[in-house]
Symmetry: C2
Subunit: 433 residues, 2 copies
């Protein structure tokens, strides 16, 4: 039975009358035709108990199993739907903003079941609601308690690297695809010598026949130890072990045994559940990269806000979350980047903070803006070509980043500092937009 | 180094000069500012070899590792971008339609690595291209050979059910959330008695404390055998085992040991890789449900077309793919439904066909339209409330579906057949829009 006007009140509740620990809290924006309160009730019904009693049986599952509207706003949209959806219903359109309380006992502390409930058929196929976006999610401590969260977190990463009171400096070895392991190792060594904390594989370079993970980890592990000996500073080689989920644990072990001391997976391609399972096995920091998230998050009016995925990656136990950062190439508004950084760092019950790593075409020329916009030193900075396509080579590329940070930390304009620092001067001349 | 106009030709190729077996073939539509050929070259570069030589080294990775444009069309869009993207570049807009050949040796026959390459940072963060949609993908036999595909496929499902020359009749036990196992089993039994081939769990009902999978499978397994004995026809209980990926194999074994003879997972929430790994373990047909796909596929101008996910589910080995079907609630144009049905059934090298199961608010009132639109009997029909909210009960609900099919098979209008068939008459009166 579909929700009818007489059923609507059963899907509304007062927040103060609910057990806060029994629900996850969901913010949706949607556009609908017809009665917007009926649409909100149907959004609850479709994502929880879609038929709340058997035919001929006097029972009502809504009290225990129904998602409930606890906040409701609606306003007419005289221009109709904001996006063109084929087969959208006709009629006057209302734009709504609701908060739902969804009983997490319906699905339990399991990421696939959570996603199925909050962003599945119920969300996207509510009658009369063709346009909808999941804006945010909040978890009660009772739900968070079932998750491990990051093993190391920001403090653990800093301790391993001996890197305090500054950003963590990553570099993506480039060319990203096509190099043999010895060439990757030679580039990584240069990057570390120049001042990188972490040399990392590109998210598209996994265990390829022309660059096997075992050999790459062995050579980069050896190069890392050389760099540590030469510089006296701890370094990390971050190996991309993205693969089918049954290979993640063996590849983690292979990479670590050979010299990697951090591992990366592409979170959505592998699946957030695969990430969570890897976390239970990992002995080194776990980093996640962002492929596919933009497929659902770019448009302001439809899909799933990127911070939802950031929160879920933190929940799944990712120590450092690489995400789209600032700059024209990333098509990501500053407030969205800041929201995602906050989602990594703000309190989350017993769950440790993840290091936010907003990236995309960064270089010495962009560091000051990133730092200023984020308003914290608790972030990772992850240039690729900004280090490895520096005209003076990767060591100079890395040095240019550290020189830029020295200027920022000293309160000196980066451009002025460049006058006396050749690598920085060349970086700005090469990479500044 | 970013692609400059002088680099563009290195990312274009003639299809007839490429080894067809070495590439996956990708159709994208995108909107860009600036030179559209440069944008297409950058789309290739960003998704393959983003920096194709080391600084100071005379090498060029594009020939072997570069994705290449093999078909290119562009036309001005005088109205600007078709969708409002924050931080989109300014300037005159071109709408482009390209086919790329992407060397699958870059990532290998691994779903997460494939997704990272074709729908990752490269696709969504190409400079000047804020709006893009992956429309389709084609695989060469050399790539398909590494995948098992469905274990049973359409023919295997038909053989197990003894169901030929007609659709396969599923029913989703409702209420979907809140029933105890004995109540689920009683409803399933009624559904089978009325003529369902397959009684299935809702995609939101997994292994819940208030409805444990073990007990549910045991009681539904017993009910299934009762129905088989009474009707003389094979039946299936399809258990939803969606859970964290390390639980899929144990839950498969638990469900099957207790009486389930098919299992379901929610493909994207679990991850397509989790589905593929489950396929290697499964001894019974594997069914997938569609949560989250609409987050990327609903808008005609942005994201990932749903048939890409259908092809990937078939590749991963799903025997029956539940997908959004016809009807106003599903916001899915008929041609898209038909595309997805074809993607299940059309030749795909050595990979067996998957049974397409287009669903959403179906009942005896919608079967004729579904059959007529799909133009085949090779589909599954999956009502929920259309069976389990039938005013005369689930057996009558199932019977109404079979009566509708009898009419269709005989070439009789369903409405006329209803005059002499009470269950069908009530179904049409209750469920017809």
């Amino acid at each position: 039975m579909s929700v009818t006007p007489g059923d609507v009140e059963g899907f509304f509740a007062r927040e103060d009358q609910l057990d806060r620990d029994a629900y996850v809290w969901l913010d949706y924006r949607f556009e609908c035709t017809g009665d917007p309160r009926l649409a909100a009730a149907r959004l609850c019904s479709e994502q929880s108990t879609a038929q709340w009693h058997r035919v001929g049986v006097d029972e009502d599952f809504r009290a225990r199993f129904g998602a409930k509207v606890v906040r409701f706003e609606a306003a007419p949209r005289p221009g109709g739907f904001s996006l063109d959806v084929p087969d959208a219903p006709r009629g006057e359109v209302q734009a709504c903003h609701v908060t739902l309380a969804h009983p997490h006992g319906n699905f339990g502390p399991r990421i696939p079941n959570l996603l199925s409930a909050i962003a599945g058929e119920g969300m996207f196929f509510t009658p009369g609601v063709p346009i909808i976006r999941l804006e945010d999610i909040r978890f009660p401590d009772a739900f968070l308690a079932a998750f491990d969260g990051p093993q190391f977190g920001v403090a653990g990463l800093r301790a391993q690297l001996g890197a305090h009171d500054r950003p963590i400096f990553f570099g993506v070895v480039k060319p990203n695809i096509g190099l043999a392991p010895d060439a990757c190792a030679a580039l990584g060594l240069e990057g570390w010598r120049g001042g990188l904390d972490i040399a990392k594989d590109d998210e598209m370079l996994a265990d390829a026949p022309w660059c096997p993970l075992e050999e790459r980890a062995r050579l980069l592990g050896a190069a890392r130890r050389t760099a540590e000996r030469e510089t006296g500073v701890p370094k990390m080689y971050l190996a991309n072990i993205t693969d089918e989920v049954d290979h993640l644990r063996p590849l983690h072990d292979l990479a670590v045994a050979n010299g990697a001391n951090a591992v990366m997976v592409n979170a959505l391609p592998v699946g957030l559940s695969g990430v969570r399972v890897l976390r239970t096995h990992a002995t080194v920091p776990l980093v996640a990269h962002f492929p596919m998230i933009a497929a659902t998050s770019r448009l302001p009016g439809y899909g799933i806000h990127s911070r939802v995925f950031t929160r879920l990656q933190r929940l799944a136990g990712v120590d450092a979350i690489i995400m789209p950062g600032l700059g024209g190439r990333m098509f990501t508004p500053e407030p969205e980047v800041v929201d995602n950084v906050r989602a990594c760092l703000e309190p989350m019950g017993p769950i440790k903070p993840s290091l936010p790593v907003p990236g995309g075409s960064d270089s010495a020329a962009t560091l000051a803006r990133v730092h200023r916009t984020l308003g914290t030193v608790d972030f990772g900075f992850v240039p690729g070509r900004g280090v490895f396509a520096h005209p003076m080579g990767p060591a100079a590329g890395a040095r240019s980043i550290r020189q830029a940070w020295d200027a920022i930390a000293a309160g000196t304009p980066v451009e002025r500092h460049a006058a006396a620092h050749e690598e920085l001067r060349v970086a700005l001349a090469t990479f500044a937009a």
